[in-house]
């Protein structure tokens, strides 16, 4: 099946124009074999002519139809929709673009050491934060280790190792009295080392561990020996980087299938944001990760673990900018109810919702965007205008919000509304920009340098619609971009800068008519009224599902999609739609893409 789709966003256009994507299909006609998959073709079940498709894609790039998107400042008319070049998807994939070396992010490091050592991992917070681009902090292009970071890797490994050996029984069940220290250390190296390096150990690895053991054992103790081994493991490139150096069976193949341990590692970081456990490593060792179907089945199995929540929560929280809630402050005179307690509760809203969705078996994007449930404690309940849950305390309890408020899932969560606002007023621009960028994958250009971007004074007009009206009035030169954002955000004005429900602002009734303009989906385009209508439109839209699938690709692959990912993106988008927008199915689908199952040849 060949499906023509517009999978390129302006950002990606720039990427291509700069010639960043490598490969593009040589059309050799060779069918690379997938894992254990020889005759039935490839991902997506495509039977189209791959050679033609691939070169078609290349031509599209080279013909100059890809241009830098420009801001218009010429007048009040909105820009015509940017015509994305349509790319014939070609399955199977002919080549994958360079598979970059990925370092563990701080988040992944923290989860990995938690699972390896079972200790308090708060020291990990001392590692410098990861660099972010395109909304995600795990892009492999930005993962160079600086001196302060290298320093923290040493200190943090020492702190964690010291904590770990305070509870030897938690580390190893080997009894030194009966088995002997040397033998127990060897056994620990084997079992711990395998989990730390995420593969079977070589003799060199084993030797390195035992050398580390001696450093601590000599004039020291058995415990100190293990402690130094742990330090060595956590500082090792085999732990810090997700190495995929398995040599390919065929050094000329354009697509190199991953080895079983490499697949296990990709699976565990995708689904758990952590390293593979013993069960998963055993499965890899015994050949249970050789076919695409097996990989998918394993992914599904892993989704049942509580650890699956961690990765999904991280993706959604970065995608939605809710990770900025920590730094969101408000004008205390205007919003005295916005306390540290409220902020803390708000930070728990998304995790609570995702938890609920996972345990109730409904993990659809639609529910995320439209649910009328909220998760509150007493301080947060006051913001929502509902009764505090019985029992008190800081834990969040599920409540159904009053229908009259017309809340719509994540879009109107109090924390989300707070992030997408200024300290003293709402921001229809930020709210509209979020929808445009992260749900429609149509990022507006940043404002030109030389315009007044100061936020209007709260007192300058009664409602936000009036205060921001200059963005849309003819002749202002701003409407080219703002027409894509503000009319969407204005539909959410029933929720103020801390997410409280309101129907009036400064004595005037709030008009929550919204509009989505310039979008290539007739069902999305046009006017609507209020948050719930917006949520329903977005939650039911194939374009939105395609966009979220692309966002997941970027997060999961740690890079932007390139031309050679056309088939993988198609697989992902098709699967997401077929599963009616189920987010856990999206994760499973990721494991079925060529981008996940293959790597590129090493070029020296």
């Amino acid at each position: 099946m060949q499906r023509t789709r517009t999978l390129l966003t302006p950002t990606l256009l720039l990427l291509l124009a700069a010639g960043c994507s490598s490969g593009g299909g040589s059309g050799t006609g060779d069918q690379p074999s997938g894992p254990g998959d020889s005759s039935t073709g490839t991902s997506g079940g495509s039977t189209g002519s791959s050679a033609g498709g691939a070169s078609g894609a290349t031509t599209t790039t080279a013909d100059g139809s890809v241009t830098t998107s420009t801001t218009t400042t010429t007048g009040g008319e909105p820009d015509p929709p940017l015509m994305q070049p349509e790319v014939e998807t070609s399955c199977p994939t002919q080549t994958v673009s360079h598979t970059p070396l990925r370092r563990l992010t701080r988040f992944e490091y923290q989860n990995s050491v938690r699972d390896l050592l079972n200790v308090d991992v708060s020291a990990v917070g001392d590692i410098p934060p990861d660099n972010a681009t395109e909304g995600y902090n795990n892009n492999s292009r930005l993962q160079s280790v600086s001196s302060p970071q290298a320093e923290q890797y040493v200190y943090v490994s020492e702190t964690l190792a010291a904590l770990a050996v305070q509870n030897l029984a938690g580390l190893t069940s080997c009894d030194t009295a009966t088995t002997g220290e040397e033998a127990c250390a060897t056994e620990f190296a084997q079992s711990f080392g395998r989990r730390a390096f995420r593969r079977a150990l070589t003799t060199e690895d084993q030797q390195m561990f035992m050398n580390a053991y001696s450093l601590g054992r000599t004039d020291g103790s058995y415990a100190e020996g293990l402690e130094v081994m742990i330090r060595a493991a956590l500082q090792s490139p085999h732990f810090l980087y997700r190495l995929e150096t398995n040599p390919p069976a065929d050094p000329t193949a354009a697509l190199v299938p991953l080895g079983p341990y490499e697949l296990a590692t990709r699976l565990s970081y995708l689904i758990w944001a952590s390293g593979p456990d013993d069960a998963l490593l055993d499965a890899a060792a015994s050949g249970e990760l050789t076919t695409k179907e097996q990989v998918g089945a394993k992914a599904r199995e892993m989704l049942a673990s509580p650890k699956a929540f961690t990765a999904l929560n991280d993706f959604v929280s970065q995608w939605s900018d809710l990770d900025e809630l920590e730094l969101t402050s408000k004008n205390q005179t205007l919003f005295p109810m916005y306390s540290e307690d409220v902020n803390a509760a708000m930070q728990g809203e998304l995790p609570a919702l995702l938890n609920y969705m996972l345990s109730s078996g409904d993990t659809s994007l639609r529910t995320l965007l439209t649910t009328n449930l909220a998760f509150v404690n007493a301080p947060l309940a006051a913001v929502y205008g509902v009764d505090a849950p019985a029992g008190g305390g800081t834990e969040l309890a599920q409540v159904t919000l009053p229908e009259a408020q017309g809340r719509s899932g994540l879009l109107t969560q109090a924390g989300f509304m707070s992030v997408m606002s200024h300290p003293d007023q709402t921001s229809p621009v930020l709210r509209g920009k979020f929808v445009r960028t992260m749900l429609l994958c149509d990022p507006p250009d940043p404002p030109p340098d030389n315009v007044n971007i100061s936020v209007p004074e709260v007192g300058s007009a009664a409602t936000a619609r009036d205060r921001f009206s200059t963005h849309l009035s003819a002749g202002a030169g701003c409407s080219g971009c703002h027409a894509k954002m503000d009319p969407i955000g204005l539909a959410l004005e029933n929720f103020d800068a801390v997410g409280q429900y309101r129907t009036m602002e400064n004595g005037q009734t709030i008009d929550v008519t919204g509009e989505i303009r310039d979008v290539e989906d007739a069902a999305l385009e046009g006017e609507f009224v209020g948050a719930r209508a917006l949520g329903e439109k977005l939650g039911n839209s194939e374009l939105v599902r395609d966009c979220v699938a692309t966002q997941m690709f970027r997060y999961a692959a740690g890079r932007l999609e390139g031309l050679t990912d056309a088939c993988s993106i198609a697989t992902l988008q098709d699967g997401f739609s077929a599963a009616d927008g189920d987010l856990t199915e999206l994760l499973v689908n990721m494991t079925q893409t060529d981008a996940f199952l293959y790597k590129s040849q090493v070029t020296q």
């Binding site: 998107s69 395109e134 930005l142 160079s144 290298a150 490139p237 100061s454 936020v455």
Partner: protein
């Protein structure tokens, strides 16, 4: 923010111990070679770069008067007690490669270019990693920054060859990095005063641990080097950078030298780094630590960044027009009106930043070194990433030097170079010369001028 408890053995330098008895804690640490600190003929010269965001308003920044008889303006009034230690440099532009539409196109907004180019004097790498205002994208800075260049020459004997500090920087993009080890290798600033304190004053007096560290380093280094030979060329760059970083920290982490007993640790306090209202407190702690690090010769090269370029930091702790300032710095700085609430708020924020600059100068001046003070022996560069806030011009950059680097630069001057013939390449060369790196003839993009600034030394 995470509080780290160091649990290395046997001396446990938790922050609480240090707060109660800082002198007692440091007394057990072996002395640094005292000759390196005071008592020499040649003063030890240091460099500290202080950066603040979003440019300035020239009409309220530049002094008036002649080179040696000048009057401070509104923003710089807080610097009055140190006027004779200052050198205002008016008329310096960023080089052609950093200007709009120059030499192959514009990569990154003025904010981004001014940040990545602040100490490198080079344009940004092209790329799509970072989006900036003005509808362009870019990668990181494309060369080594002058602080690193100087650190390689004068800082290799110190515990820290250089130290990067930040106050509420938080951001991890191109607009938040001024120090570069090399192209695409930004160095993140340390933001947690507690962590900085531990790094400076928490050295471990544990020979066994240090020996173990050395051995683990050797194993890690060897294995990383081996892998760098196996992976592809792109990935090798990443591993090579890691190797360089390891080498940079190795000496300090395995050496017996800690802070000397004459080195007095500053008093610390708890601060919540997520609260914009505690900007002052966080900044003061970092400045205290920076100055202590210089005074104790733990390092001779420091960069200290306030926030990030295009900073949207809030200033609710400042009053303007009778009420707390509501908007964010960048938004306010873009109001073209010549009066009004934003105009006043902007001025208040600018003046406040210069009060922090004055605080740093006062701290430096409080350390006596022979007949002079630490301020006299230091060269301070006060810089921001663009010129005029509203128009984002990259000319007439509001640079101020302070201190004089042990007499290498005559201070108490307002040098007006006139019509922008001088560029930032020259300023960075002058800085290197002042720090004793005299053989440097040019720095930064080749499109810029060679040699130092005239009439400066």
């Amino acid at each position: 923010m995470t509080r780290r408890i160091r649990t290395t053995q046997p001396l446990r330098f938790t922050r609480r111990n240090l707060l109660r008895g800082s002198l007692a804690a440091t007394a057990a640490i072996p002395l640094l070679n005292a000759q390196r600190v005071v008592g020499q003929d040649e003063p030890i010269r240091r460099l500290i770069v202080l950066s603040y965001p979003n440019g300035t308003r020239s009409s309220m920044f530049w002094p008036t008067g002649s080179e040696t008889d000048f009057q401070l303006n509104t923003f710089t009034a807080p610097l009055a007690p140190y006027q004779d230690k200052l050198v205002f440099l008016k008329g310096i532009r960023l080089n052609d490669a950093l200007q709009n539409g120059a030499l192959g196109g514009t990569v990154g907004s003025e904010h981004a270019r001014g940040t990545g180019g602040m100490l490198t004097a080079r344009p940004l790498n092209s790329g799509t990693e970072f989006e900036s205002f003005g509808n362009t994208t870019s990668g990181w800075g494309s060369g080594q920054s002058i602080d690193q260049y100087i650190a390689d020459r004068i800082g290799t004997e110190n515990r820290f060859s250089s130290l990067q500090l930040g106050v509420h920087v938080r951001d991890t993009e191109v607009r938040a990095r001024i120090s570069y080890r090399d192209s695409n290798q930004p160095i993140p600033p340390r933001e947690d005063p507690g962590e900085v304190f531990d790094a400076l004053f928490g050295a471990t007096d544990n020979a066994r641990l240090r020996a173990q560290r050395q051995s683990v380093f050797d194993m890690t280094y060897a294995e990383t080097e081996r892998l760098a030979g196996i992976v592809g060329t792109d990935d090798k760059v990443k591993l090579d950078a890691h190797l360089t970083s390891m080498r940079d920290i190795e000496e300090r982490l395995v050496s017996a030298e800690g802070a000397s007993s004459s080195c007095v640790a500053p008093t610390m306090q708890e601060v919540d780094l997520s609260q914009d209202t505690q900007y002052v407190e966080a900044g003061r702690l970092q400045m205290d630590l920076a100055v202590a690090a210089l005074a104790c010769d733990q390092t001779r090269v420091v960069t200290l960044q306030w926030s990030y370029s295009e900073s949207e930091h809030l200033f609710q702790f400042l009053q303007s027009g009778g009420r707390a300032i509501d908007g964010n710095h960048h938004g306010i700085s873009h109001d073209f009106a010549a009066s009004g609430a934003n105009f006043d708020a902007y001025n208040a924020i600018q003046t406040w930043y210069h009060e922090q600059f004055a605080y740093l100068l006062s701290k430096l001046a409080s350390y006596q070194e022979g007949d002079a003070t630490l301020l006299d022996n230091t060269l301070v560069l006060w810089a921001t990433e663009i010129g005029e806030s509203t128009t984002h011009g990259l000319t007439t950059m509001p640079y101020v030097l302070a201190g004089g680097a042990g007499g290498r630069i005559q201070t108490g001057r307002f040098i007006d170079y006139g019509a922008g013939e001088q560029d930032n390449n020259q300023m960075l060369v002058s800085i290197a010369h002042a720090l004793g790196v005299e053989d440097l003839t040019s720095f930064g993009d080749p499109s810029g001028n060679t040699g130092p600034l005239p009439n400066l030394a």
